[in-house]
Amino acid sequence: MKSRSNRRPKNAAQTAPSRSRLGNGFALLSRARQQAVLSVAKPAPLAASVTAFLSPAVVLQLLLFVAPMLIIAGYSVLSRGAYGGVESPWTIENYQRLLDPLYGVILLRSVWLAAVSTLLCLVLGFPLALFIARSGRRKNFYLQLVIMPFWTSFLIRTYAWLFLLRDTGLLNTVLQATGMISEPLPLLYNDGAVVLGLVYGYLPFMVLPLYATLERLDPSLLEAAADLGATPWVALWRIVLPLCRPGILAGAILVFIPCLGAYLTPDLMGGGKTIMIGNLVQNQFTTARDWPFGSAISLALMALVMLLLMGAARRKGLEGEGEPLL
């Protein structure tokens, strides 16, 4: 190590000529630049090199996240061209349109469907998380079993439900064959199917944070409760559930946000009969070709998500629980 650092100044001296000689070789250039950074970094090693570590991400983030969002923001105050595209003049009309009850209804419906799905995820996910947290040595196995479907394609998981639920799908075929029903049940193309698709799609997002908090729960608390005469159910209700609030909050956010912006599920499971805010955005950018309005809805949706997160962060801060994600 020592000898390496002693050699470095010599290397740095060599970089200048080598760079000018082979200036067009990208690899060499970058290596030279790297060495230059290293040698410059000597007096203040951290500052310069941290910048170098961060710079690719900074460039990517500025170019492919910040700039697109700014463009959307710009479009949202422009007008729609006669056949599509964006045109001047500047206007706030697109935001005024958001106040239209029509879009309010769509937004409310999205919030409602997302909320119902989140609640169902919580109700279904909590006992499962509890089961995993209490399953001792096989915890990891059970946890993997929850995550497994998450790794497979979301589209395919939705398709699997289409396969089960259509009129000639497996469920109706079996029910009819066993004589339990004579006419196929209308299982698809309604809000229930949409919620089912959302719950199935995002359940793991709820189970994981719940499991994380349950796992950290001090078992002696429960023993104490039992000693004081609490039944397991009472202990669950009075002790476990309140202590799980950070996990519930995290899970609810992780489920609620993607459900709010959902677009594939209402489309495939809802049969195009209902539209959620995600479909509205997509329509504006494709079939309706109203980019300014689509941009305004997108920004409004982002604002909603941010408000939600800020609210949650404040709650979390008050309870002084959990570490930051980033």
Partner: protein, 252 residues
């Protein structure tokens, strides 16, 4: 109560796994309908004979690999940088990109590309899809790698630097080896997210970049298709195998 929990867990796991299992079983059905008519591999041979399908699968693999390499590389460096120094705006923007609804990310990227193309003679295609995927998976890498970094002791690295190592050398020789499991997990996550993405891809894809999810979506919209059952099974088994393999690697 534990017995109730156990019973519930069986029901919950059935809910999670049965749909895919049933789909897989029916991919071996000789009939194209949901009546069982005996075992057959014909949907698999139909799948293998479908040139468009194979091309879409190849596109998906190429895009996912490229996005994985790009996002893992940039994201790991970024996580390390953020571990050393807090950069509020970058953290905020990554966080935001993590939670922004897919459809919003997609239309924003589409708008950005269309705007940029006014100045460049470029078309939508594989490159735009790869860039989009790197962009939306960057935050996932940073989160995963950073959570691993938080478990590390910075003292080791400081010691290396006290002994004369440059920051890069210290990162490369001291921190990175300890980080590798986190990096591998992040790469796996990016691969699966990228391989699976439909919403963003469909918006920024061009003539030559139809991916497997895009094909699956358009097939699913046209009705039941036993070939689709076969594709699903291959994907479930393939991705599942990849995860198991990765788990093995991590344990070894």
């Amino acid at each position: 109560m534990n017995r109730a929990l156990g019973l519930y867990a069986i029901a919950a796991y059935s809910f999670l796994h049965l749909p895919l299992l049933v789909l897989s079983v029916f991919s071996f059905n000789a009939s194209r309908f949901t009546r069982w008519e005996g075992w057959s591999l014909k949907w698999y041979s139909a799948m293998a004979a479908d040139a468009a399908l194979m091309e879409a699968a190849a596109n998906s693999v190429i895009i996912a690999l490229a996005a994985t390499v790009g996002a893992t590389l940039v994201g790991t460096l970024c996580a390390y940088g953020l571990w050393k120094r807090r950069v509020a705006w970058l953290t905020g923007s990554l966080y935001l990109s993590l939670v922004s609804p897919e459809i919003v990310t997609g239309v924003a990227l589409l708008a950005f590309y269309q705007w940029a193309f006014r100045f460049l003679d470029v078309q939508l295609g594989m490159h735009t899809v790869v860039l989009a995927h790197v962009s939306f998976s960057l935050a996932y890498v940073v989160v995963v790698v950073l959570s691993r970094l938080r478990t590390l002791d910075p003292v080791l690295e400081e010691a290396a630097m006290d002994l004369g190592a440059t920051p890069w050398w210290a990162f490369y020789r001291v921190t990175l080896p300890q980080l590798l499991p986190g990096v591998a997990a992040a790469a796996l996550l990016v691969f699966t997210i990228s391989f699976d993405d439909y919403v963003i891809t469909s918006l920024v894809a061009g003539v030559d970049s139809e991916t497997l999810p895009m094909l699956i979506y358009s097939t699913a919209r046209r009705g039941a298709s036993p070939v689709l059952n076969a594709i699903s099974t291959v994907l479930v088994v393939g991705l599942g195998g990849l995860i198991l393999f990765a788990e093995r690697l991590r344990e070894a």
